[in-house]
């Protein structure tokens, strides 16, 4: 009872920060339920990667191996994880709500006949869980019935687990997969090329909205500020829909949810759906020429100004600050 199985997502052996969020949440949950937290790293040769997770406080790391797990595919991974969860007697199975977590975990839940709470932001003692609904405007406290409960956690809602002194054993297991039942084929992955930090991992984000008026202005006006701050660049849905910037820059309810230390919204009005993606940022700044823009209501510091003047001024000011 109370045992937690943590799915430790990796990209070719590298663990994104989001995985450490799942580890932290899994450890918290296991502690509250008086159970053990075990992590699982899946792949065709996951032992080395599994060793990386051993220092974060779980009692063991399972290196779940099978050729069919080489690339991520929902059907193979769901089969493997479901069999493992049952075998390990886990009461909770948890992952971060990344693109992979969101794709995989509902399928896993259905395979286990379990209910799932998506993108939880808090674990209560009873244990109920809190999750955002209506674009984060209504926080629902939910309870899951059944012998197995499936959860994904919002990546921005928990701290990342920190490495400790413990060195958990790595246990290699062969995944139980009926290869004949697999029907999906991985064709290719095309990475967005950028030297900038990833949106979901950046300490500072500068986002542009429709107020930038053209894609070119993202380059000439916004990017100097972004790079002066060593930030990631984001965008509102309006800017993406207008074709100013690629899709994966979109911050919002149906784009990426971020909570950096500093979020600077430039030329963004602050529609509910955008706020849903950034309102948990530690400090929010807004620059917009419309003083009625809803973004100002959530901004710690708001500047009503023409962004085409204000942003270069800000960039200049930060340069001065760095050299002072």
């Amino acid at each position: 009872m109370g045992d937690v199985l943590i799915f430790a997502e990796h990209q070719g052996g590298h663990f994104p920060k989001s995985t450490l969020t799942a580890v932290h949440a899994g450890l918290e949950l296991a502690k509250k339920r008086g159970g053990k937290a075990v992590a699982v790293v899946a792949g065709d040769a996951p032992e080395a990667a599994a060793g990386e997770i051993a220092k974060y406080g779980v009692v063991k790391v399972i290196a779940l191996a099978h050729p069919a797990l080489k690339n991520y595919l929902a059907d193979a991974h769901a089969q493997a994880l479901a069999a493992l969860a049952k075998k390990e007697g886990a009461e909770f199975v948890i992952a971060t709500a990344t693109a992979m977590g969101k794709d995989l975990f509902p399928r896993l839940a259905a395979r286990l006949g379990a209910a799932m709470a998506s993108e939880i932001t808090a674990i209560n003692d009873d244990p109920t869980f809190v999750r955002p609904t209506y674009a984060g405007n209504v926080m629902a406290t939910v309870e899951i019935d059944g012998p197995i409960k499936v959860l994904t956690v919002r990546g921005t809602a928990f701290d990342a687990a920190k490495p400790g002194d413990g060195d958990a054993p790595v246990e290699k297991q062969n995944a139980e997969i009926d290869a004949g039942a697999l029907k999906m084929e991985f064709v290719s992955f095309s990475a967005t090329k950028s030297d900038r930090p990833q949106l979901t991992e950046a300490r500072i984000i500068v986002s542009g909205g429709r107020g930038l008026k053209a894609g070119e202005n993202f380059k000439t006006v916004l990017e100097p500020l972004v790079d002066e701050l060593g930030a990631a660049m984001g965008a509102s849905r309006a800017a993406v829909d207008a074709g100013f910037v690629p899709n994966d820059l979109q911050v919002g309810q149906t784009g990426k949810v971020v909570a950096p230390e500093l979020y600077i919204a430039v030329g963004i009005s602050g529609a509910i759906q955008h706020l849903a993606g950034m309102k948990d940022s530690k400090v929010i700044c807004a620059i917009n020429k419309d003083e009625e823009a809803p973004i100002f209501a959530v901004a710690d510091y708001g500047l009503v100004a023409d962004l085409f003047k204000a942003v270069p001024e800000m960039t200049e000011e930060i340069k001065k600050l760095k050299h002072s």
């Binding site: 399928r107 709470a117 939910v142 019935d145 064709v187 149906t254 959530v298 510091y301």
Partner: protein, 248 residues
């Protein structure tokens, strides 16, 4: 080619949603009900595929009688017929998925296309659950679908880029924002929709387990963020970020 499109009725995204003081639900007096935006994208994609391939687009929704309105809108867009699985209960994603899987078992579609998430519960589960229950491939967050003679390729929006996967039909696909821009129902479409078949089935006549496993205990507004402070210049903003907020 038969395409099943499950849809959901949700409050218009522009609505300001208020939680009832006792936390048991949201205030619905000011709510305008619409088809979930992602479901509209799913309907549109199904219609485009039908227009290329010939076939039938069947809508299904699980909800109250009033949800007929949203089915009629989908029929007006061009879907061929609709099924209302009637229930007054608030079912969780698992139960909804079981119902859809059962309907799919009866209808035997080549594709089930859904929106990736409903903008009310933001759960993002039903499509994936249906795929598992049917034992079919799934492609979530689809931004492009290519149907070739022997297989389907789907480009998916994932973290850090675009992933392409392929599989044979039958399959489940969930639609992301960039998949298409849905059409408006035309006036002739609206007129035709009145004559199209809209069948009602009682949810508990399907013989699936509907007992809720995910239960909502209470609802609350999120902690309100203190904002609204204005600064006079870019210089002041940078200065405050450095000395007061200490983030740069």
């Amino acid at each position: 080619m038969k395409i099943l499109v499950p849809i959901k009725r949700v409050p218009d995204p522009a609505t300001t949603i208020r939680v009832l003081p006792d936390g048991t639900g949201i205030a619905t007096d000011n709510v305008k009900w619409v088809i979930n935006p992602f479901c509209e994208i799913a309907i549109e994609e199904a219609l485009r595929i039908k227009e290329k391939q010939t076939g039938e687009v069947v809508l299904v929704t699980v909800g109250q009688s009033t949800w007929q309105e949203q089915l009629r809108t989908g029929l007006a867009m061009g879907a061929d017929r609709a099924i209302l699985v009637k229930t007054d209960a608030a079912l969780d994603s698992l139960a909804i998925a079981r119902i859809i899987a059962k309907i799919a078992g009866n209808e035997k579609p080549d594709l089930v296309i859904l929106g990736k998430q409903a903008i009310d519960d933001d759960a993002n589960q039903v499509g994936q659950m249906v795929a598992e229950m049917l034992g079919w491939p799934q492609a979530t967050f689809a931004s492009k679908i290519e149907i070739a003679a022997d297989k389907i390729s789907v480009v998916r929006e994932v973290d850090g880029g675009l992933e392409t996967i392929a599989f044979k039909m039958p399959a489940v696909i969930t639609a992301d924002l960039r998949l298409n821009e849905p059409r408006y129902a035309s006036l002739p479409g609206i007129m035709k929709a009145r004559k199209k078949e809209l069948k009602e089935i009682a949810a508990d006549s399907l013989g699936v387990d509907l007992a809720p496993k995910l239960k909502i205990k209470t609802l609350a507004a999120p902690p309100k963020r203190q904002g609204g402070r204005k600064v006079a210049s870019a210089q002041e903003m940078v200065s405050l970020l450095h000395t007061e907020a200490k983030v740069i």
